[in-house]
């Protein structure tokens, strides 16, 4: 058995190592001051895919990412670790997308790829922390989803068994394939980049990169087709422009505030409706929500 696996990945600013110039005076993220990295939980997702490829040699892993041209960096990063192919979804019309528009664009790209058995992504990205994109992609494709995955335990023809890490324990669940799996940071960390793969793929470029950069090794691309990173626009995936980017995003950012987190004691509720009602009231009264 071999599987076609799509790994959804995102390039994010490294918000874990925030220096004092991480935020601009207007309260927005100063992306220039933060290095762009492979979203950490997406690396956990890639590792799960690589584990499957080890169990089922011949399986194929395709990385799919949406972002500006420089997001091709994480496609290379994935190839260095053992992915087989990378697709960059890039277009000015994709810019400013919220989770809804993002999942729409990703699902259109997945449809274009047609044959897939499994989609794996990180639980959430460290810049937005929404954890919405994976589940929304599943909904748009009309396939099952398993969130909070810690490990893919077993795969057989048309079926997958997964261990989920939840707040108070673990849960083993099964799903038919194809499905979307989102992976927690508690899953095993991704293997390092491989020295041979790095040397093999370091010249992998998208068409745009090849056109815009001063290229030293232009002649090798004819002989090494695997160095050609796929680049898709809105038109390439047949997406409706109105549902993409800013115009397809109902989320509007009203205001951005700097908040200093203060650690406080956590509050534990039982599952009684009364306690939950009380909490809701409290949160509305102190304007945490609403």
């Amino acid at each position: 058995m071999t599987l076609n696996i799509i790994v959804l990945a995102k390039q994010v600013p490294d918000t874990r190592n925030v220096g004092k110039d991480a935020m601009k005076a207007d309260g927005t993220v100063n992306r220039a001051a933060l290095p762009a990295i492979f979203n950490p939980e997406d690396l956990n997702a890639l590792e799960q895919a690589l584990g499957i490829k080890e169990r089922f040699p011949g399986s194929k892993i395709t990385l799919l990412t949406m972002g500006p041209g420089r997001a091709a960096d994480i496609l290379r990063e994935g190839l260095f670790r053992g992915a087989d192919d990378g697709v960059l979804l890039t277009d000015r019309a994709f810019a400013g997308a919220d989770t809804l528009a993002t999942s729409y664009a990703l699902s259109m790209a997945v449809r274009k790829m047609k044959d897939f058995d499994l989609i794996i992504s990180g639980r959430q990205a460290i810049d937005g922390d929404t954890a919405q994109v994976g589940p929304q992609v599943a909904e748009k494709l009309g396939i099952p989803q398993i969130t909070y995955t810690e490990n893919i335990e077993h795969i057989e023809e048309g079926k997958i068994r997964v261990k989920r890490r939840l707040e108070n324990g673990v849960e083993i669940v099964e799903s038919p394939l194809p499905a979307v799996i989102t992976v927690n940071g508690s899953a095993r960390t991704c293997r390092p980049r491989n020295a041979k793969l790095l040397q093999k793929y370091k010249h992998a470029k998208t068409v745009t990169e090849r056109q815009s950069e001063d290229m030293d090794y232009i002649e090798i691309y004819d002989r090494r087709p695997y160095l050609d990173l796929t680049e898709w626009s809105v038109a390439d995936v047949g997406a409706d422009v109105a549902q993409c980017g800013l115009s397809g995003s109902p989320t509007k950012v009203k205001k951005i505030e700097n908040v200093v987190f203060q650690a406080k004691e956590s509050k534990r509720l039982s599952d009684s409706d009364v306690e939950i009602d009380e909490l809701m009231r409290e949160l509305i009264e102190n304007h945490t929500i609403g």
């Binding site: 293997r191 491989n194 020295a195 790095l198 040397q199 370091k202 090794y217």
Partner: protein
């Protein structure tokens, strides 16, 4: 944390002008690019690959190996049923290195290696050692593959080398209870079975690093009735064949993650490597030279780690209202550590470059006849490699010890506690100037290059290079040191008394070391003043003081004074 990118000194050494020649020889006109998708296209591409692969090494070291070091030191390996289980952290480190393709790095691509020259390979060893010196022993034993590559037959190479590049571990089984520094006394018996047409090994090996490895190189007595080194041959033993068990592992002071084994060979089937009788005199000598370079890298890594531990602590620790690094007594210690670390690194890579060129030329000579120019080049660099390996091993490992000692001193009482890394580093450092030949034995190997003038010849070559005017005064100091050195050589060799020469040998070799390393740092400072100027100043003045000290010792004592040192033995 990335242990490669956070140390810009490494890239400085990687980008030495001689690399162009090294890569050219190693890559043979970049012919591999037609056959291997990961082979470099040209010089720039190869250098870029070394840089990027070292980034992988730096990341694994910073994120995995260094954080595991404390646990590995505590847990250590275990032995049961005749076999070793590594500490869990060691296993994790090995898995990471395997997955990253960092095993058998210097092997040719046709065996699955990366075909890396010695310089980037040794740089990886330098980085690994900073993270965990004990782990470097396991990882660094991949160097045994080099000996198989040089001396085994094609069939053996095809069977063993691809396993190494896929991650099989190796060991070199040389020492025995009665054969430590004196390997001529090896007794492990190799007998040839005519009926089965194979060799069987019987006996005991002791102090074998990573003795439960997958593939062993074994030194054994194949010629019955012989007593010296000429009766010894080299064998390769495959763990899958069976016949070797681990009787015990040593409880050591340092490098505790690295299992040091006592091995029992009971009718262990093995294959002869190369020719009979050349085991010690040719193959082990080659093996040891490579291993010594590895230990130099280990020493440099330990010095780097010592430097950082001392510096970081001194910056944070406040006494009398300020950080202790602001006190001259403390900052002098720290700049001395930095200077000795930088000087050690300078001679490490200088030696690695010599080894690179002569080994690549030797390898080429197996394919075709060398031109007369190439033959001269081979001779020139192999002589320097011979001279610099013992000199560098002696100097850098002594410095690693001094630096680790000083790092504890900077920590004060806290450094004596198990809470800080400097304590482990200190214990790990202690073996470096003992194994693969004690410093005393390095001096024995180095002294003939003092008397025959090899070091002086190289010093003259350094002197001939022009440097920035502001560094001229340092160069002057070095030439004063050189004059004293020349006088010392004259004084010590004049009586033609070997005991007298042996008595002062270490002093002479150290003087050569100070001058050579001083020159190397001066050239580093000339190219990259921001990184090396301070260390050049500090080291050369330190070296000058040491040379004067040795000069005074020799000139103010008489040959007869040796009698006061000689033991009085009653038989």
């Amino acid at each position: 944390m990335n242990f490669y990118t956070d140390t810009p000194q490494l890239k400085h050494h990687l980008e030495h002008p001689l690399m162009r020649r090294i890569v050219e020889l190693k890559e043979r006109n970049y012919a591999d690019k037609e056959t291997f998708d990961y082979a470099p296209i040209d010089f720039e591409d190869a250098m870029d690959s070394y840089d990027k692969v070292l980034e992988i090494v730096g990341e694994i070291c910073g994120d995995i190996i260094a954080p595991n070091a404390e646990g590995v030191d505590k847990e250590g390996p275990k032995v049961s049923n005749g076999h070793v289980t590594y500490a869990s952290g060691t296993q994790e480190n090995l898995d990471a290195c395997r997955k990253a393709g960092l095993m058998g790095m210097s092997m040719p691509r046709r065996y699955g290696g990366l075909n890396f020259p010695v310089v980037p390979y040794i740089m990886a060893a330098d980085i690994v050692s900073r993270a965990d010196a004990g782990f470097e022993n396991l990882w660094g034993l991949q160097d045994c593959a080099e000996t198989l590559y040089e001396f085994a037959d094609d069939d053996q190479k095809t069977r063993f080398l691809p396993r190494v590049t896929k991650g099989a571990t190796m060991s070199m089984d040389l020492t025995e209870p009665d054969a430590g520094s004196d390997l001529q006394s090896v007794m492990l018996r190799a007998t040839f079975d005519e009926a089965e047409n194979c060799w069987y090994l019987n006996g005991v090996k002791r102090f074998i690093t990573n003795g439960d490895s997958d593939i062993h190189l074994v030194l054994a007595r194949s010629e019955e009735g012989t007593k010296d080194g000429r009766g010894l041959s080299m064998f390769v033993y495959d763990k899958n064949t069976g016949g070797v068990t681990v009787r015990r592992i040593e409880n050591k002071m340092g490098i505790k993650g690295s299992p040091t084994c006592e091995l029992v060979f009971k009718n262990a089937k093995a294959e002869l490597v190369g020719s009979r009788r050349l085991g010690l005199i040719k193959y082990v000598m080659a093996l040891m030279n490579g291993a010594r370079l590895g230990i130099m890298a280990q020493a440099v890594g330990i010095s780097e780690a010592s430097c950082r531990e001392a510096y970081n602590y001194a910056l944070e620790r406040r006494q009398f209202g300020k950080a202790i690094i602001e006190f001259p007594a403390v900052y002098e210690i720290i700049s001395n550590i930095r200077a000795k670390a930088d000087a050690s690194r300078a001679i490490l890579y200088e030696t690695a470059r010599f080894v690179d060129i002569y080994k690549a030329l030797e390898d080429i000579s197996k394919e075709r006849k060398l031109t007369p120019e190439e033959r001269d080049e081979l001779k020139y660099y192999s002589r320097y490699a011979d001279a610099f390996t013992p000199l560098g091993k002696g100097m850098t490992t002594e410095y690693a010890n001094q630096n680790a000692y000083d790092a504890i001193q900077v920590h004060g009482g806290s450094g004596f506690m198990k809470d800080y890394a400097c304590e482990r580093i200190y214990r790990d450092a202690r073996i470096t100037n003992i194994y693969e030949g004690t410093t005393q034995l390095q001096v024995v190997a180095a002294i003939r290059h003092v008397t025959t003038g090899t070091y002086l010849q190289r010093i003259r070559e350094y002197e001939a290079q022009s440097i920035a005017p502001e560094l001229e005064s340092l160069k002057l100091v070095l030439s004063k040191m050189t004059r004293m050195y020349e006088q010392l050589v004259e004084i010590v060799t004049a009586p033609k008394d070997n005991d007298y020469l042996d008595f002062h040998a270490r002093r002479l070799v150290e003087c050569a070391g100070h001058i050579v390393m001083g020159h190397l740092l001066l050239l580093d400072a000339n190219k990259n003043p921001e990184l090396f100027r301070r260390s050049a100043e500090v080291y050369i003045h330190y070296g000058q003081t040491e040379v004067i000290k040795n000069y005074n010792f020799v000139t103010q004592s008489r040959i007869e004074d040796m009698a006061y040192y000689k033991p009085v033995l009653n038989d």
